[in-house]
């Protein structure tokens, strides 16, 4: 019997009854059988014909629900009640289903067939569907005493089974032929459609599979089963805010993927992951799937790897807890299997590589490499790469910010050298390890070892450009120019495009020419300079190879050591080729100082320079002049350049008053500022440029960012800073200003780690000294040998403290006893990464005179 369609309820019914009927239908649609039953029961007394079918439908649904939950006794009592109100026909199918729960399929199968074949039994379509599905799932042969109607149905059931068997053996043709025995109007036709869809799936025809599965009756077993195939075919994608994938679909997908137990575990793991319970998600799979984690080259291996890579994408607190979970397991060797131990060690080492305890890093990584050798077989090249990486990490500067900014000492130089030597011993062809070791020797000023290693490298890697360049640089450092030029020429044969090589060649020849001039070998000197002509450029800001720079050098060398008139000719040409007079004079002044070292700041060009610096200053020229200064700051001559930097700062301040373009202002502000002489006035001068640009375009994100970075953040709460940066980010994104977007994102990441301001935030009415709880600091006590009085004295003090920090001589609390005065910046402390057991005693520092490569 079919419940009457809602339509328009009779007008004789009261609104409350209509509402109750509406609710009943909603509950039925939502499969809330009890609620539907309770809602409709009183209505049956009012209109039996209208509401009894709904009551029967609700109770039938309840019976099936109870059976699905295994509450057979409860289901039987509901069925007994149904028998009093519902026609026998309607109950036949559910009675058979109930019998099927505990019954013998061999006995029930004929009854299913009989019910289906009985034309007088007007079963509703959904009941027929269920009986048909149960017939298939009984997996029985044709009953011996079947009548023709049942026999025909049994033959169709047999065809479905044969097709299933053929599909399991990938006998596609046989399956297709077998399915032809099922007529289109057969009660089992949806099974034929399902199996055709399965064949299409396994043959890679996703479209056909989708078409077949889409036509299946919604409540049928084939439709439920098809979800797994649709999921694997990508037709049932999980939506971000949509309903989760049904557990049954995952169960089937897991079976198809070869792991019957994984579906349910994966269902649980996914739900836990989505709500941020990451470690529990891992445990759901760890406990639910025997082989997990695994290192196989399959999806289970990928799923295992996923958990050991996921920490990087997590928020900081979640990542910390996640790593702590694995650390506590690895530390107590409580791993489920060796793969888990392996992946855990790798995870911890890679996560802590930047800032963790160096001894723990080494311990974790060496255990990882050792276990890897055990599981995969030893491989010296792999181990060499591993040790090379470890050496590089140990050679990084510590992550903690020192009192004077980023630290320049190494995390563990001795261990780094040991690891790199081991890497080289394992694989003598490991070039990166060699190069890193050279770099470390250089940082530690172990020059003899460095040079010895470089000599070995030149023999082992004669065709490696990096080695030749490194050897060349070291030769130039030692003023062995001829040998250095030989290395450079060999490097140039390997790579004629790298611009660094001609730069070094020009520089080396210039220095060699100077040497020849000093030795009065003027002809050789001039020939050496002439040999650089092929490498010169006509770019105004190429301070290595620019033609005007080359003429300038030649001119000065002639004036100092050679022929003065010839030198004047060269200088005149240099002046003519230079971009503007101040650039020539500034370059001449600096070069003269390098060639004729005397009093800092002095040269015969000084008067002209001071005059030119006042002549029409502009932002564009300021950019050029600052670039020139930057070149000389980085030059090996290491000139004392504080005066020059001070003059250029004055130049910039004056240039701020002249017209300039946005691009010129941007270039000027983005030039690195070496703070040889700290002056807040310089930031103020740059801020003048920023202010003028923002006057024309107040939303310019780049210049708003400049405004933020040039002003000190003291007094601004992190929330204020974040809001400001996010506003800039929004505008930069809108304008597609990618460089600004990237910079702002980096700054936003650091907002949470800003050091506290050295002064407590002051209100407008506060007197500064009132906020010091203990009063102003006692400087006499802090500086018993005399309080610094001048800027130079303070700068000298800072340099002494910086050198002491670099040598590791400062106590952890800083240079002052008892924590020091609270107006000095505190070093930022990194968040603890994991609960650590006390580290083992550090190994004694290696004897620098021992060359133990093993």
């Amino acid at each position: 019997m079919v419940a009457p369609s809602p339509g328009n309820p009779p007008t004789t019914l009261s609104p409350s009854v209509v509402a109750a009927e509406q609710r009943t239908r909603e509950f039925l649609a939502q499969a809330k059988w009890r609620k539907a039953r309770d809602e409709v029961k009183p209505l049956v007394k009012l209109d039996r014909d209208r509401y009894l079918p709904l009551l029967i439908q609700a109770n039938l649904g309840l019976v099936r629900e109870l059976m699905a939950k295994g509450l057979v006794a409860d289901a039987q009592s509901v069925l007994a009640y149904l028998a009093t109100i519902a026609p026998t026909d309607q109950l036949r199918a559910v009675e058979l289903e109930m019998a099927g729960k505990d019954g013998n399929p061999a006995e029930l199968f004929p009854r299913y067939l009989a019910a289906l074949a009985d034309a007088s039994l007007s079963l509703p379509p959904d009941e027929k569907l269920r009986l048909a599905d149960q017939s298939i799932l009984a997996f029985q042969g044709v009953p011996a005493d079947a009548d023709p109607a049942c026999g025909r149905l049994a033959a169709e059931v047999g065809a479905v089974h044969d097709a299933l068997l053929a599909i399991s053996m990938q006998q596609w043709d046989r399956a297709v032929t077998t399915l032809r025995a099922i007529p289109l109007r057969s009660v089992f036709s949806h099974w034929a459609t399902f199996l055709k869809g399965v064949m299409a799936f396994h043959n890679g025809d996703g479209e056909r599979a989708t078409r077949c599965f889409a036509g299946l009756p919604a409540d049928s077993v084939p439709a439920q089963a098809s979800q797994a195939y649709r999921l694997l075919a990508g037709q049932l994608a999980p939506a971000p805010n949509g309903p989760p994938i049904p557990e049954l679909a995952l169960d089937g997908a897991g079976r198809l993927a070869g792991q019957p137990s994984v579906g349910r575990a994966l269902f649980r793991a996914e739900r836990l992951w989505k709500v941020g319970r990451f470690t529990e998600s891992y445990c759901a799979l760890r406990d639910g799937v025997a082989q997990f984690p695994t290192a196989g080259c399959d999806w289970l291996g990928a799923l295992s790897e996923f958990y050991f890579r996921a920490a990087r994408g997590m928020a900081e607190t979640a990542s910390y807890n996640y790593l702590d979970f694995f650390a506590s397991g690895a530390g107590r060797k409580a791993s489920k299997n060796s793969v888990e131990e392996l992946l855990t060690l790798r995870l911890l080492a890679l996560s802590n590589s930047g800032f963790g305890n160096p001894w723990e890093l080494r311990s974790d990584w060496e255990r990882y490499l050792s276990l890897l050798d055990r599981l995969r077989g030893p491989n010296p090249r792999r181990a060499s790469i591993g040790y090379g990486w470890l050496g590089e990490q140990l050679a990084q500067p510590p992550s903690e910010v020192g009192w004077f900014g980023p630290r320049s000492d190494l995390r563990d130089a001795g261990a780094a050298i040991e690891c790199l030597r081991k890497a080289i011993a394992l694989d003598p062809n490991n070039l990166p390890a060699h190069l890193k070791l050279v770099s470390i020797y250089g940082t530690l000023a172990r020059i003899a070892e460095r040079n010895r290693l470089l000599d070995e490298m030149c023999k082992r890697f004669p065709e490696e450009k990096a080695v030749l360049l490194e050897a060349a640089r070291r030769c130039l450092e030692r003023k062995v120019f001829v040998k250095g030029l030989d290395f450079l020429e060999r490097a140039r044969q390997l790579d004629r495009i790298d611009p660094v090589i001609p730069e070094l060649i020009v520089s080396a020849r210039r220095q060699l020419a100077r040497q020849y001039f000093q030795q009065q070998r003027t002809d050789q000197a001039r020939q050496t300079l002439a040999d650089t002509e092929e490498f010169l450029t006509d770019l105004a800001d190429d301070f290595h190879r620019g033609r005007w720079i080359a003429r300038l050098h030649h001119g000065l060398l002639e004036e100092l050591h050679g022929d003065v008139p010839a030198g004047e000719v060269q200088l005149a040409e240099a002046r003519a080729r230079s971009p503007f007079p101040a650039a020539f004079v500034f370059a001449a002044h600096l070069t003269y100082r390098a060639y004729a070292p005397g009093k800092p700041g002095a040269s015969p060009f000084l008067p002209e320079l001071q005059k030119e610096l006042k002549n029409a200053p502009s932002a564009a020229r300021a950019v050029q002049l600052r670039r020139l200064l930057q070149f000389w700051i980085q030059a090996p001559e290491k000139l004392e350049l504080r005066s020059e930097e001070k003059w250029l700062r004055g130049y910039v301040r004056t240039a701020a008053k002249a017209p300039f373009t946005r691009e010129e202002a941007r270039q000027l502000i983005e030039l690195p500022d070496n703070q040889l002489v700290y002056e807040s006035a310089h930031e103020n001068a740059l801020l003048l440029f920023v202010k003028k640009v923002l006057r024309d375009d107040a939303q310019d994100p780049r210049f708003r960012l400049f405004d933020h970075t040039l002003r000190p953040p003291h007094g601004e709460a992190p929330e204020q800073i974040r809001a400001k940066l996010e506003s800039i980010l929004a505008e930069a994104t809108r304008r597609r200003d990618d460089p600004t977007t990237q910079k702002v994102r980096q700054l936003l990441k650091r907002v949470d780690h800003l050091p506290p301001p050295p002064f407590p935030p002051l209100g407008p009415d506060d007197d500064a000294f009132d906020d010091f709880v203990d009063g102003p600091p006692d400087l006499e006590k802090l500086f018993p040998s005399g309080v610094p009085q001048t800027l130079e004295e303070v700068q000298r003090l800072f340099e002494m403290l910086r050198a002491a920090e670099k040598a590791g001589l400062l106590p952890p609390g800083g240079p002052f006893p008892e924590g020091g005065p609270d107006f000095l910046p505190r070093p930022s402390n990194p968040a603890p990464r994991k609960k650590l057991s006390p580290p083992p005693a550090p190994p004694p520092p290696p004897d620098p005179n021992q060359f133990n490569l093993l």
Binding site: S168, H202, Q224, A257, C297, D298, R309, L350, I385
Partner: protein, 101 residues
């Protein structure tokens, strides 16, 4: 995604085997016919094309394999070798499990 899985080679495959698998896969996934798969193949090959690359991948690769466990599972099963049909007994068990819901 796991490059070995993308190229369908075992973990101990050598340079020649990897290159052969790469070239064979490219025949079915050109930039015009299947740009997504082509890009995945090219990326995978770059990661494991020679021994040092394979070692570096094994030691240091930390690229995320997906957004969630289900995402990883689906991605690797969908892009890996096509699953074989269930055995008859396994199919019976699966279909019966479907009927209980």
């Amino acid at each position: 995604m796991n490059p070995y899985l993308v190229l369908g080679v075992p973990r101990d495959a050598d340079d020649q085997a990897i290159r052969r698998a790469y070239l064979a896969a490219l025949k079915e996934a050109t930039p015009e016919t299947n740009p997504v798969r082509f890009k995945a193949l090219a990326g995978a090959y770059e990661q494991i094309k020679d021994e040092p690359s394979r070692h570096r991948h094994e030691l240091f690769d930390t690229a995320s394999l997906g957004d969630s466990p289900l995402d990883v599972f689906l991605h690797h099963v969908q892009h890996g070798p096509r699953p074989a049909p269930l055995s008859f007994e396994a199919m019976k068990e699966f279909l019966r499990a479907c009927s209980k819901t």
